[in-house]
């Protein structure tokens, strides 16, 4: 069972490594979206510090959505999704593995880039650390919930925009707790409560999302 999970993750990571161009696009998307905000709002440091956590978090949501519509679509097109679904292992493990792979490929790089962007927004060191921590807990949620949307919209016209429409509202708690944790540091009210709530939401997603997206895949492939 664990071997199966590991195979799914390793396979996707290997494929991403073979196609570095696609992978880099999503990371640069994140950087560019965040960098647009000061240009639109103005360089006043106090203002940037206030909006910084929210901007980085919203950009992280968008960046994860950008790569989500291809989560199952490529495998669907070349038939390897069918083969994986016919494996003797439970399908929820397949969707869990795909979500983990999505996080490894798209989530972990965000954690590394985020502090640099935080500096652009004039965030102090303590806030930078919490920003990374909140993204570390929060980005797996984005991949898990996103896998549901990707499975539901598999093979549909305009899949990308549709995934955004379906999944964005479900991301709201992650956004609030995640960005809130960083703001908590800035305002001095602390971030533990936010981070624990974010962690609870992660546990909930981890328990439910793989099953739901397995069911959604079954519905979509039929």
């Amino acid at each position: 069972m664990l071997r199966f999970l590991f195979t799914v993750v390793r396979r996707d990571v290997l494929l991403a490594a073979r196609r570095r161009g696609d992978w880099l696009t999503a990371q640069f998307f994140f950087v560019i979206v965040v960098s647009m905000f000061p240009l639109g709002i103005g360089p006043e440091p106090g203002m940037l510090r206030t909006i910084g956590p929210g901007v980085v978090w919203v950009a992280a949501l968008l960046a994860s959505l950008l790569s989500l519509d291809r989560l199952f679509a490529d495998d669907y097109r070349d038939g390897s999704l069918e083969q994986a679904m016919l494996s003797p292992c439970p399908m929820a493990l397949l969707t869990l593995g795909k979500a983990i792979a999505h996080w490894v490929i798209n989530g972990i790089p965000l954690l590394l880039i985020a502090p640099l962007l935080g500096i652009q927004f004039n965030l102090p060191a303590a806030a930078l650390w919490i920003l990374v921590l909140s993204l570390a807990i929060g980005t797996p949620i984005l991949s898990l919930l996103g896998s549901i949307g990707a499975a539901l919209t598999l093979g549909l016209r305009g899949g990308g925009a549709l995934v955004t429409l379906l999944i964005m509202p479900l991301y709201v708690p992650a956004l609030i707790f995640g960005a809130g944790a960083v703001e908590g540091v800035l305002s001095g009210s602390g971030s533990e409560a936010h981070l624990s709530l974010l962690g609870a939401f992660l546990v909930l997603s981890l328990l439910l999302a793989p099953w739901v997206s397995a069911m959604a895949l079954k519905v979509s492939v039929e």
Binding site: R3, F4, T7, L15, D78, G79, S80, A84, S87
Partner: protein, 208 residues
């Protein structure tokens, strides 16, 4: 001989259209079934129902006497499906493709056997090339090599001869024949005439 693989009173609907109804067959070890019928009659839909990818509107498919939904794990281990799409990743070499396919099926790949299968099917010169540079027929051959290494008892093949040259067709026909003669089962669709020396497959015609 006891029945291994059977279906009875299968009904399939696509959207509002009834594709077929009251379809059934009964196969034992060492038998093959050739599914016929024109385009759009539901041959592929039938095969997808048989392998468990989609559910029939009514009826049951049984493997070793049990409905396939209830014996899913065992059925998945003993069945191999080759669909229209090959299930081959363009960015991986044939060998990597076979290794991952095996691992997803819960098996470790026997490298010697896989090399032999790839050689037998005429891909000995392409072992390390990414599948992207292979031709359509060559990619089909990778998928067929995967079938040979899967060690499944039941083969469900959707148009296995598509895209193959004369020599490839003969190769696949021999492959299927050997599998069935050795006691395996095969269910397949094909538009081309298929000759399996010394075997008379059952036939089934799909369509309302």
């Amino acid at each position: 001989m006891p029945s291994m693989f059977s279906a009875n009173e299968l009904v399939c609907e696509r959207g509002e259209r009834l594709l077929f109804s009251n379809l059934g067959f009964d196969l034992s070890g060492g038998e093959a079934l050739l599914v016929g019928g024109g385009n759009g009659r539901g041959k592929t839909s039938l095969l997808r129902i048989l392998c468990g990818l989609s559910a029939p509107a009514a009826g049951t498919v049984r493997w070793r006497g049990e409905a396939i939904g209830r014996t899913r794990e065992r059925y998945a281990r003993e069945m191999a499906y080759l669909g229209h799409a090959n299930g081959i990743k363009d960015d991986l070499s044939p060998m990597e493709n076979l290794r991952i396919a095996a691992a997803l099926n819960g098996r470790a790949l026997d490298v010697a056997a896989a090399t032999a299968a790839l050689e037998r099917i005429g891909l000995s010169r392409c072992l390390d090339l990414p599948a992207r540079v292979l031709s359509f027929g060559q990619r089909r051959r990778v998928a067929l090599a995967g079938l040979m290494t899967a060690g499944a008892l039941l083969w469900i093949l959707d148009e296995p001869l598509t895209g193959l040259d004369v020599e490839g067709v003969a190769l696949v026909e021999r492959m299927i024949r050997d599998h069935v003669v050795a006691g395996g089962l095969a269910v397949m669709t094909t538009h081309q005439p298929m000759t399996l020396d010394g075997l008379t497959p059952q036939t089934l015609s799909v369509g309302t």
